[in-house]
Symmetry: C3
Subunit: 459 residues, 3 copies
């Protein structure tokens, strides 16, 4: 007899304990930053170095934050509704683990990125960073989608957020790397972390749920809601925490062109790899987004529209080819069951983005950037070659952290205490949700809404 | 024989008469404010007290306005599509009464909140306020969803908007209350108004439509679109009309944390109250939003992330428990048929928000807020205790206005002249909409899109 | 035997060739403008005429850009999912041709609207303009929806974008016309271009696909996602490229009121033209948007809320009447098969908008606008009568360009080389997409998710 999937006690207990811990830690450690604190902000305003209300970081960052927020909750959530019977779980568990992760990330990132008199200061920038970290967890969720209980997902989030923050700290603070849109910190880390977790959780008999591991017509349309929102708002994602002015503007534009080019590559190769030239929704839903991933590091640099379009085209191409040829091999040879194909959308394009970032940084010069150089690469003497090297090292560190973290987390998640679904009931909402009937509804309405009756009513 | 539901003359007549009246009143009473009037704005710019274009209120408010707008039309509209056969009406009637209400609200609020030389001045802030008032009507719509004709809903909106504006005037202008996110003016008022209306319209034989008063699989997914948009943009809602700078920033952040915490509470209690530990979509769709309601008054104050998370957790908890245990009692004992459970999402959390607001205001001090105190609580001498008292009185006034207004409106809506649906045909789009077949479509496509035929085509 | 619909080689080849050409041209011709170029922006900042970061055009335009972007990809894309079996193609082809068009438009518009030392300079404003041009192509797509291959659509986009840019250049640069929201350049042009194309592509035997040329229940709900997003963000669309300050603010507000009024007219006439007073989703999905089209030219002027509401009411009225009475005549008498009824949503309301714009411009005076007159109508001596005349001439030019361009493009698209669907398989995703089964899925889930089994699992 398999483990019971009844999480009646486990899920509430875990949620309540986690939230209570979060509340206590927030009470002890978190305070408003100077742009959200009424006393500090207004003191800043009236004293010597005056800042006007329109200079509050809110007005520079909040529209971007909201776009990122939409990507996290609608984008990731609906992208994963493509499965025929896993829509509730896709949107619902996405919602749950994102709501937890953004709180936990605020603490972990705040702790590592610098306390102020022992306190973590929060504002819209920390909100964006917390959402970014959450994105990484949701990428990993894509690999294990349909095969994990909500309890497992929360446990995974605890570890992944923590390790994300450590990796981010090493990259940004110790190595001084650039990674505004997170090609490395978010996409590469999240993808390889998730792939290792799903490898450890390998299910040899997953075939028993094969009939549910596919889409139906309307579930593919719901998924397209997620895709399109991710695609549209990716320029905001990559530019959300860049420096004010030209870098934010430039990053958004580079991402826009990369994605447009990526979309044409995706349609081209999706038709090309199909014997009848038919397009595959899996490719359109996912590979068209790879262009956003691949300019996540270099987008703020002088990549130019031209460079962005080349990168986007490459990203779309490798992503479609990955879905078609690599994913089946990963599953059969390496026993990596990657439900959403995150290796193709986040893994390879993330690595591509890291490489592009290293090269673009190594080519940067103050002749080209003028005084904008510091805005992008920070203060201090400028040595493009060593900068490029540090970017490359950052990729290696990220891969190492993801593999180690995924391995650790995977083995913890393997314990038979989380109410994971049996092989026969993966990809099935009914395991964790009250699911309404479908056919009954349909018959009902045919029975009720006959034209005759309706006519009588309205006569 | 029941009343005819044919609204062929009634609905067009009412719409046209209302719009003509609106147009005449707008022509007579409404003018551009100084930030939208070309002469005034540019005169302001060039004269002594210069204001630059970036100081136009448009740039502070419009992104928030658009988020609020999405909540009103997508958020509320899709949240109510959870019913299996009432999607057209949910989104459609939501659309109709919102489009009417925002125009009517502009006049009522403008009239009460201060004429300028006998004119109502409009700009982005009045647009936000009109959308807020509309939100209140849509909350009430949730209580009577499925049981009312569009004619009834428009009549309800006429009265509710008017009374909303009066109540808002009493609270904000006479009592000097704070309620930026509308815990009292929007949520408490809208909820109890709607509950009284649905009590007056009590249908003892509603059981005859019981089989349609539930969701199907895809309707629950459509509803999640509404939920997630409401959840994501609630920070914009609560902060949309706060003062520039730190208050707007702080309010958004407090709401963000309250909602995150609320979501964990919702999942916890939804699983806990189910014998098999299964999550209920009704809870996730609704209770996870209660955290936004409950910080609608105190969000702009020094509630802190810590305080916001506690409030959010409480709100989610009482909301789930309300859905599980209170709603059935309200229906069986008090004859309140509350289709969407607005008492759990807006009623109780709204009252909680009012209480939290009163307490937080009573604890405010200039030691804590510095010069920010006036920005939040307005000019004049500061007496926190009496401020707290006025906040509490505001809640009482709101409840009184809602009960009185709902009673009056309910009895007007009871007249058998609006083409309301019979008990046997509630929750049914076919009464007011041309509804396309469903099964025909399905068979059709199976018949047509056989792989064989398709193969021939593409050969 | 009909032409094969297998586009395995044609579609990839066209996509790749187009993208490679685009990349080469971008490499040769496109550079960052002074608000996105790190050297120029920061030089501007520190020299005499200092500009601060908050004055970067990004902060004035990017939120509007994102709203426009949502309209293009979600709005247009989902609006067209109303067909029962064409959802993949509606969203998917919309995605493809939009991604291509925005790149091609950047070049065409940049080339015509002024090179800087032989280079096209890009920034957020060029991104908005490119999205606008794309909107025009998507309007035309609505006319030929379901009857064209993706190869045809890309070819159409090549020509339409080019001619759009020429027409826009004549109107804005040569005739000095105002058309911020594109009543003429976008809507009138896109509509009549598309109508002529579909006329040339007339299919006498389209009846054979008639059973698929209609909606099902859920496809109508998906379409409402498109409608509501277009409706909500239209204020951003019309105001996206107006001058900073009062014009942008005023345009958004005028559009808001026009749309609200239009919605009431739409519901009124939809019920009125139906024998049983039932509302028709086609009207609500489309005609309610005509108010945004009709204030596309005059919205930035002193149209006032009053004037906007009158225009919106008229637009909604003629749009519904067009769907009911004109579309069938266009098809039977003029052989214009207009799948989405773009003549009613974009054609007539676009012409109305052009006329309203001409009249409003002719009535403008510096007494009314003050120094705001130049902000709206540009520098130079002000002659309202000749301005009005030039606006009217612009409409005539637009109609001429659309008819000529549509004719040319139509005949090119008639060549039997693009893999167009046969008359028997129009409005069918299966021709170009891998389509998952639907019924199988349904049965599967009933079979699997029996309450009994689920109970056992969770015990």
């Amino acid at each position: 007899m398999a483990e019971s999937t009844n999480v009646r006690l486990r899920l509430p207990l875990l949620c309540i304990i986690l939230e209570v811990i979060l509340i206590i830690l927030f009470g002890a450690l978190v305070e408003y930053n100077e742009d959200t604190h009424p006393k500090q902000w207004n003191a800043n305003k009236t004293h010597s170095a005056t800042r006007n209300d329109y200079e509050n970081e809110f007005y520079y960052r909040y529209p971007s934050f909201q776009d990122v927020h939409v990507m996290i909750f609608v984008g990731f959530g609906f992208l994963m509704t493509f499965l025929q019977r896993y829509g509730f779980s896709s949107v619902g568990f996405n919602f749950l683990i994102a709501a937890f992760s953004l709180q936990w990330a605020t603490l972990m990132q705040g702790f590592l990125h610098g306390l102020h008199h022992g306190k973590i200061q929060v504002g819209v920038t920390s909100m964006i960073n917390a959402d970014f970290c959450t994105g990484s967890v949701l990428i990993s969720f894509g690999a294990v989608l349909g095969k994990t209980s909500p309890v497992q997902l929360l446990v995974m989030a605890i570890f992944e957020v923590t390790l994300f923050a450590v990796n981010e700290f090493i990259l940004l603070s110790l190595l001084g790397a650039n990674d505004a849109g997170g090609s490395m910190t978010i996409h590469t880390f999240g993808a390889y972390f998730g792939l290792v977790v799903t490898r450890v959780l390998y299910r040899p008999n997953l075939d028993k749920s094969k009939h549910r591991n596919s889409s139906v017509y309307h579930s593919d349309l719901f998924a397209m809601i997620g895709t399109i929102y991710l695609w549209m708002f990716w320029p905001s994602f990559n530019s959300a925490i860049t420096s004010y002015g030209d870098p934010q503007h430039r990053t958004a534009m580079n991402t826009y062109y990369s994605l447009a080019s990526c979309t044409l590559a995706t349609f081209a190769f999706s038709a090309l790899v199909n014997p009848e030239g038919k397009l595959d929704m899996v490719h359109i839903q996912n590979a068209a987004l790879a262009g956003g991933v691949a300019v996540g590091t270099a987008g703020e640099m002088m990549l130019t529209a031209f460079g962005s379009m080349i990168v986007g085209f490459l990203a779309g191409t490798i992503s479609v080819l990955g879905y078609k040829y690599l994913t089946p091999i990963l599953e059969s040879k390496l026993k990596i069951q990657d439900t959403c194909g995150i290796h193709n959308l986040h893994g390879m394009p993330g690595v591509l983005g890291a490489v592009v970032g290293a090269v673009t940084a190594a080519l940067a010069s103050s002749a080209e950037y003028g005084e904008g150089l510091q805005k992008v690469f920070g203060e201090g003497e400028w040595d493009p070659k060593s900068k490029g090297a540090f970017q490359a090292i950052s990729l290696a560190v990220t891969l190492g952290m993801a593999l180690f973290g995924g391995l650790l987390t995977g083995f913890i998640l393997k314990l038979p205490i989380y109410g994971a679904p049996p092989d026969t009931h993966c990809f099935e909402d009914g395991v964790y949700w009250e699911v309404p009937g479908e056919e009954e509804g349909h018959n009902e309405l045919n029975e009720v809404a006959t034209p005759n009756e309706m006519e009588k009513l309205s006569s």
